[in-house]
Symmetry: C2
Subunit: 401 residues, 2 copies
């Protein structure tokens, strides 16, 4: 039903081209990316909830809210165009309009996105010059170049693509993203761009994206921060000829596929988190409400004390139950059981059954899960996090200088 | 009006004795403290909001809620008696009852408190043995010994005392506390014990303590955690013969004094925070509501990105405004101004006026302030925090082992 495509990316989906080039915002590395669709796309998007929103966020958000069809996404790294006031807004408009002109599109068909240092005027001339060049670099295998050009402190390019068998035939979803910091306001944060050749009307596309983002991109944390530039965009160009309608079998199949690729993308961001050495899945089962499950999982995933203990492979169940207790969620810790992968650590009534040797063996892996069973209801929630290492402090103490 | 007493502590207040001894919970260091009043005290207290509450928290909280008069506080370090289930509760009762017997008091006149490793049965025999001994060590200069005996990873003993001139004469407030970690569920957290010879009825005492705690102990953060064992206790023995009544001049004078000493105690915990190298005051001025001011100040004080930047003396105003923006509080960042001490960094409209040399000079001090002026209303809030150092990670990655 679902098959990840080896070496897949946004351009593994028919009708999409992409490119990544160097335009001079960074010293040497690629810093300008373009994703382009041969035909108009329905477009969905989610944007940062931070009150401080970068100029390109405001511009792209408006296009999505107006349900305009979209043909291209222009992304630069190296400068976030955030906290740049009125001039920053004018600059972003100028960049958007020039890109539209070069691609022979209307400005409202071009989404813009930026990531990098904040509070610095964006060098419009360099980007304008880059736009003139990048059009000729567009290819139907350019997704990886684009993925590289949106990186900031990321160590690895992040590209994925998935085939889905629907009742009417095969559709594809491709995606690129960047993160690595899970929010560095200074370099601005998490970006994800997803393409599909399924034919899905805008309102439904937006609904599905929100659903997937809430289960994946919104459940990861490196340091609990939310940047000025976060965005996730999903473009559907319909070129597969296969339509996905509300409440159909294909709706569920497609949504599950969208969740799958979004989860892989989100996890790739955690794995590449600043100083991260481990990917940890935190799941809370059998809570009274969905919100209780989520609040507890988030509190554990965000606790510096839990994250530092995991860095040291210390089976510190006390910090885990205490992080749950301080979350404000409604539960009785006397009913709670804690597991590392399948290994029981604490049973109801604070009964500690930890096998320290086996626990250490699990915590020394680079990928494991912490589960809490609250024994109180039917709701669950999963978050992903990483450990907190000395390397994280080193990166962030001297970032700007 | 207010004068801190050099080398002051809980026993700088008439009628209070204290002691600190070694009873064997720790290898060598003092681990059992007793604070004792010659006459019955009105008692106020605030306790952790963590759902996971240690046994002594539950016992002492009940005494305060019943408005019982109190004669003694017995505190051990080295074991938190948290997550120890029914047996832990029985153990705490046994300890309390034995202490009452030795001091010839009723059990309800003895508050109990523990801090240390959680999830381990508390060695009752060692503490019983210690109680038999500690009575004879009680002296009217024993506050410093008690302060030392409640330490866990604290590097310094924390003792304070203050003289206040009220209209009717002088009263005193003394206090000892421990923290250093600002919450380590494993070593259990923040404890503060405050004594006074003012005569204040219980309901008013409780009201004043809540007020002071909300402005001081509840406004500090090392890592945003809340432990299973936090408590602040205030005992008033009335031996000065001076009464403080609601809505009097003396009420305001005493409350200000209580705030003063609580602030010094709270700051001493931050300064001694794990790996902390700097004490940072975060103040938000001119918010629309008190809650908006508080939410923003807390978000900045708790942001790992801000705290790591401050560790590196990086004048990263972008992380500060972004931490404000992500807080969920209602404000328009376009109106916001940022200062380091008196130095303007950002004016309204994201106008950056930073003098990098002067800013670095401030951030390299071990004590400075970050202020935001929101220019929107009349409400303000102050938090205290410390920087996040590599040392913090080192301490917490290998704490339990």
């Amino acid at each position: 039903m679902y098959q990840f495509i080896e070496n897949g990316t946004v351009t593994s989906v028919q009708g999409f081209k992409a490119a990544g080039i160097h335009c001079g915002l960074k010293k040497k590395k690629p810093d300008l990316a373009l994703i382009y669709s041969e035909v108009p796309c329905n477009a969905a998007g989610t944007f940062t909830l931070n009150k401080v929103k970068a100029a390109p966020i405001l511009i792209s958000q408006k296009i999505i809210q107006k349900k305009n069809q979209v043909r291209a996404i222009l992304v630069n790294s190296g400068n976030a165009n955030a906290c740049t006031g009125e001039q920053g807004h004018k600059d972003a408009i100028e960049i958007q309009e020039h890109c539209a002109k070069i691609l022979e599109l209307k400005p409202n068909e071009v989404l813009v996105s930026s990531t990098g240092v904040i509070g610095q005027p964006i060098p419009v001339d360099k980007i304008i010059h880059g736009i003139n060049e990048i059009k000729d670099s567009l290819t139907s295998s350019g997704g990886h170049d684009a993925a590289e050009a949106i990186m900031t402190t990321d160590l690895r390019e992040k590209s994925f693509a998935l085939k889905i068998k629907l009742t009417g035939g095969e559709v594809r979803i491709g995606g690129i993203c960047k993160g690595s910091g899970m929010i560095m306001p200074n370099m601005a944060t998490m970006l994800a761009f997803i393409t599909t050749d399924a034919n899905i009307e805008q309102a439904l596309l937006q609904e599905m994206l929100l659903h997937a983002v809430n289960k994946t991109f919104n459940k990861i944390t490196v340091d609990g921060d939310t940047s000025t530039n976060d965005m996730v965009i999903l473009l559907a160009n319909g070129l597969s000829g296969i339509s996905v309608k509300k409440d159909s079998v294909d709706y569920n199949l497609f949504l599950k596929g969208l969740n799958l690729i979004s989860e892989e993308m989100a996890k790739s961001i955690i794995v590449d988190g600043e100083g991260a050495t481990k990917l940890i899945r935190v799941t809370v089962h059998n809570a009274k409400t969905s919100s209780d499950a989520d609040t507890i999982a988030k509190s554990i995933a965000n606790s510096p004390l839990v994250k530092t203990a995991l860095n040291g492979a210390d089976a510190n169940w006390g910090r885990i139950i205490s992080a749950a207790g301080k979350s404000g969620a409604d539960f009785d810790p006397l009913n709670t059981m804690i597991y590392f992968d399948e290994l029981p650590i604490m049973l109801a009534g604070y009964k500690i059954v930890i096998d320290e040797v086996k626990a250490a063996e699990i915590l020394n892996r680079d990928n494991f899960s912490i589960s809490l069973d609250l024994n109180e209801g039917n709701f669950s929630s999963t978050w992903w996090t990483c450990d907190f290492s000395q390397e994280y402090i080193k990166i962030n103490a001297n970032y700007r200088t």
